[in-house]
């Protein structure tokens, strides 16, 4: 059974069909790309999958469990985490606290424990701290852990967003244009980080990207969206050479 099963998903804004009849099956451990020209509905798909928008039609399941109509918070707890196209870190909190917000659902101590500093508090706080530092190390951010998030350079903010999303312990990670605004070197580094996350966290990743080098370099399969509908789907190398896809991007 596929980890993510999306069937005929669609949403209308007034008369506009922003996404129409979107279906995809993503196997566990896959790196899956979602591409298409600007305004094709890619981020809308992410907003549907994370519960920000309620779908007008269709269903989606994670690990067989129906997620339609669930709240963003519930969907996150059931295993879908995301990053944002325009970075949305908690910018006035420290780098490590950003990650800890992601971890917080996995803590069990009570307000009482927290305010009166019971042994349980110290034990859990310590393990949470270790876990957060471990995550930051993966992204080479451990030296920045006490800095405020908004003081980080752009590339590191993007990485911190991925770290924060991973902290919620998802089964499926959605990356919205992770390479946006990065130079070729940074993109290269990001590609190896994404691979590392997939291999070491046993993660399934669905990503939106405009940088075809990144998509061609790491995604095994892709779906191309155009005007809210699926234009092509399949193995990355085949889809990227499909004349219809090239036309959609470059025009006749």
């Amino acid at each position: 059974m596929s980890l993510l099963q999306v069937k005929n998903l669609g949403i209308n804004f007034g008369g506009l069909k922003a996404v129409d009849d979107f279906s995809v099956n993503i196997e566990k451990g896959t790196l899956y790309g979602l591409i298409g020209p600007n305004g094709a509905g890619k981020t809308t798909v992410f907003n549907l999958l994370t519960g920000v928008y309620k779908p007008s039609t269709g269903t989606f399941r994670l690990d067989g469990e129906l997620l339609n109509g669930k709240k963003p918070m519930e969907i996150n707890r059931m295993g879908i985490a995301r990053t944002f196209q325009n970075i949305r870190l908690f910018s006035n909190m420290s780098v490590i606290d950003n990650v800890k917000v992601g971890l917080h659902n996995h803590q069990t101590y009570s307000v009482f424990d927290g305010v009166f500093r019971t042994p349980k508090y110290y034990r859990e706080e310590k393990s949470m701290n270790d876990e957060a530092v471990e995550l930051l190390k993966v992204f080479d951010l451990e030296n920045e852990k006490n800095n405020l998030a908004f003081n980080l350079p752009y590339g590191k903010q993007r990485k911190l967003e991925i770290a924060r999303a991973l902290a919620t312990k998802p089964k499926l990670l959605l990356l919205d244009e992770p390479a946006a605004g990065m130079n070729p070197n940074e993109t290269e580094e990001l590609m190896s980080t994404i691979r590392f996350v997939r291999d070491n966290f046993d993660m399934t990743i669905l990503l939106i990207e405009h940088d075809m080098r990144l998509v061609g370099g790491i995604c095994e399969e892709v779906t191309v969206l155009n005007f809210g509908t699926e234009l092509a789907k399949g193995k990355t190398s085949e889809v990227l050479n499909d004349p219809r896809v090239i036309t959609a991007y470059l025009g006749e």
């Binding site: 963003p72 918070m73 908690f90 910018s91 909190m93 800890k100 927290g114």
Partner: protein, 292 residues
């Protein structure tokens, strides 16, 4: 000198009450981005609860305090659920008008139930004061100051050191992103209203111990002044609310003694205007630098 010290103490006493109320304003503003103008009236409800439970029915002080806190918590959370939550995505002006409406609703309800006459509330504080170098330190001052200090320490620990505190900070930064990171935004907002209202209850009890009379409009002036304190300290900032409240109390008390009782309020609000002219974000407010 003796007079100065006593007035300083009075100012600290009054300022503590303002600070406790201002904390509620500032926390709710930080999280829900709204000015809860009904917050002052929560104090009045707390004071009436004290009147009924302690003065009328003679409950022991700890039960009376507990009851006040519970009544105010329930009231604060219900107001949020009934009046503000449906307006989560409405314009700030709509929410502001609603808050003012809730404030009038609470005042009018109190007027209907208790009538317009002010009623005497017995002080809960029975501790005797003492005199050092001719300076009178009243029992009320001792209790008010120590209670406020303890509450501020606990609140700071709560926000800095617990996961709910972190969730609050995260919600205040970006509600949408927090939700997508699995933070329960509605529960966090309710918790904020509950804490703010419990603080208002404590403030109401302390206020009653010094002033002793409760009427339907008892909450409005301390409410407005605490709002000024929150803005003075930098609205949204918790240390700012504490500092703003204490400063405001001292200024008011000094102005009453050395300048004029009639002008004291004018001076308090005048200072607000001056501070905002030079530091629009308040004393400890965050400066938002937009990155381009």
């Amino acid at each position: 000198m003796q007079q100065f010290c006593e007035q300083l103490l009075n100012g600290l006493n009054l300022g503590s009450v303002y600070a406790l109320i201002a904390l509620g304003y500032t926390m709710v503003y930080g999280i829900a981005k709204m000015l809860n103008f009904a917050h002052g009236d929560i104090i009045m409800v707390g004071a009436y609860t004290l009147l009924l439970s302690s003065t009328r029915f003679g409950l022991p002080w700890y039960l009376a305090v507990l009851l006040c806190a519970v009544v105010c918590c329930v009231l604060g959370v219900s107001i949020e659920k009934i009046a503000y939550k449906p307006l989560r995505n409405a314009s700030p002006l709509t929410v502001l008008i609603t808050a003012i409406g809730v404030s009038y609703f609470l005042q009018s309800s109190a007027l209907l139930i208790f009538g317009s006459n002010k009623q005497k509330v017995d002080s809960l504080i029975k501790i005797k004061g003492f005199t050092v170098n001719g300076i009178n330190v009243s029992g009320e001052s001792i209790v008010t100051l120590s209670v406020t200090i303890v509450i501020m320490i606990l609140l700071t620990l709560f926000i800095k050191k617990t996961k709910m505190g972190k969730a609050m900070l995260a919600v205040s930064e970006d509600k949408g992103a927090a939700q997508l990171m699995g933070v329960n935004v509605n529960a966090t907002i309710s918790l904020t209203f509950a804490i703010g209202s419990a603080l208002a209850a404590v403030a109401g009890i302390l206020y009653m111990s010094s002033y002793g009379f409760v009427g339907p409009y008892t909450g409005s002036l301390p409410g407005i002044k605490a709002f000024v304190a929150a803005v003075l300290g930098g609205i949204g900032s918790i240390p700012g609310a504490m500092l703003g409240g204490i400063l405001l109390g001292i200024i008011e008390s000094m102005a009453k003694t050395y300048i004029s009782t009639d002008l004291a309020d004018a001076i308090v609000f005048g200072i607000l205007i001056v501070v905002l002219l030079f530091r629009p974000t308040g004393l400890l407010g965050k400066k938002r630098i937009e990155k381009v």
